[in-house]
């Protein structure tokens, strides 16, 4: 069946099977290979993309479920060749070693910053503890998370 997706601001009309996963459309059909498949069992979060502004695991969503919606992947984060402040913070704070989890980490990080700007969650400034809880759906097997948390806190300050 035919679905329409607006991915990183570009409208696409795409032929998919009902069983096609969103992550496979992004990677195989649109060749946006920045979104990774890690565990493929909705645990690790490397496949995190934004659908209608919210982070979801693209390996656990059918492409047909995203029909008609806006999708943002890691390729849509930098603007005009300039890294987003969150990406710059990851580089500055050495928040990656192998880099496999990084696209998912950054997509989640952008959502954390967005949701902690104000209501409904909280007006309090983002803390180390809050970031760690928010990162429950993203695994990193290299860094031990310390520099990722530092980067997200720094990226949050730089983004606001």
């Amino acid at each position: 069946m035919k679905i329409s997706l607006t991915v990183n601001g570009t409208a696409h009309s795409i032929e998919v099977e009902p069983r096609t996963l969103l992550v496979d459309v992004l990677r195989e059909q649109l060749r946006l290979t920045g979104t990774h498949v890690g565990c493929d069992t909705s645990q690790c979060g490397t496949c995190t993309v934004h659908v209608a502004g919210k982070p979801v695991k693209a390996c656990s969503m059918l492409a047909v479920q995203a029909d008609g919606q806006d999708v943002t992947t890691i390729e849509g984060v930098a603007k005009d060749g300039v890294l987003h402040p969150m990406q710059a913070a990851f580089r500055e704070h050495h928040a990656l070693q192998c880099g496999f989890c990084t696209p998912g980490m950054i997509m989640t990080a952008l959502s954390i910053v967005e949701r902690h700007k104000g209501e409904p969650l909280t007006d309090e400034p983002l803390t180390d503890e809050m970031v760690r809880k928010e990162l429950e759906g993203n695994f990193c097997r290299c860094t031990g998370y310390q520099p990722i948390v530092a980067a997200i806190l720094a990226g949050a300050k730089a983004t606001v």
Binding site: K57, M61, L62, P120, G137
Partner: protein, 264 residues
């Protein structure tokens, strides 16, 4: 994943018609259990009926003495709802502890209840708060809803439209979660309601159940100490690689005590 026919009904009756006309149909809510299940080929439905375009299944409304939540409302929406946080903070807390943020952006209340996973969180709140499950044709009391491991009182093809949660005087949910899956190894919801104290357990048995012994003692004295004399039986509780039945029985006592401690 095996292929299937995909449907996107616009009305409840259209959804029911597609279901009854199909060989082996399944409803798709948020898909956070169903899609992994299909990927593992543990199920092979002929037809998948996506409920996400049914407006009457969405939304959170405050009615007289109750919060009514549409079946397709995402966990993240319940957790962030100002109304739920104000009137039943235990329910908002529970929703915010399900899985992880990405899962909460897709997973739904109705999907969780209809699946009756033994380790799901929502069943504990539905039972403890004495909620009412609404389907297109009838209402089902929480006490009658959970009937077995992955089994409920829903008939084939019958879907949940909304769930009405009476506002309790006070309630708390405590869970001991599996650190990897974040499912409840044991979770206890204690609610002090207009119809008395209700205690419901999830994660420990084949399906959510009420712990009437605890309800009796807490009705007399709503204190952590009142629970001290209760030895939760391990009979009929789950044993798996995560926890033995004896350990789960112990955890039920600990989680119940913590819930009461949080309320006094």
């Amino acid at each position: 994943m095996h292929n299937f026919n995909y449907h996107r009904p616009k009305t409840l009756s259209e959804a029911s018609e597609i279901f009854s006309g199909a060989e082996d149909a399944v409803y798709l809510a948020g898909g956070q259990t169903l899609i992994p299940t299909l990927k593992q080929r543990l199920r092979q439905p002929s037809d998948v009926i996506d409920l996400s375009h049914l407006a009457e299944l969405r939304g959170i409304a405050v009615e007289k003495d109750a919060v009514v939540i549409g079946a397709m409302t995402r966990h993240g929406e319940v957790a962030a709802s100002a109304d739920v946080r104000r009137l039943i903070p235990a329910l908002a807390h529970l929703a915010g502890e399900i899985g992880d943020p990405q899962v909460r952006n897709l997973g739904t209340l109705g999907g969780s209840l209809a699946n009756s996973d033994p380790a799901a969180d929502y069943p504990a709140a539905v039972l403890a708060l004495g909620a009412t499950i609404h389907t297109p044709t009838r209402t089902i009391a929480a006490d009658d809803f959970f009937t077995g491991l992955f089994e409920t009182a829903l008939e084939p093809g019958e879907m949940i439209v909304k769930v009405s949660f009476p506002v309790p005087k006070r309630a708390a949910y405590m869970k001991f979660r599996n650190p990897a899956s974040r499912y409840a190894v044991a979770g206890v919801c204690v609610a002090d309601t207009v119809s008395g104290v209700r205690v419901a357990v999830t994660g420990a048995g084949p399906y959510a159940f009420r712990q009437t012994e605890m309800e009796t003692v807490l009705s007399k004295s709503f204190t952590p100490g009142a629970l001290a004399g209760i030895a939760v039986s391990e009979e009929d509780l789950n044993s798996d690689l995560h926890a033995t039945a004896a350990y789960r029985a112990h955890l039920v006592g600990v989680m119940a005590r913590r819930a009461v401690e949080a309320l006094i």
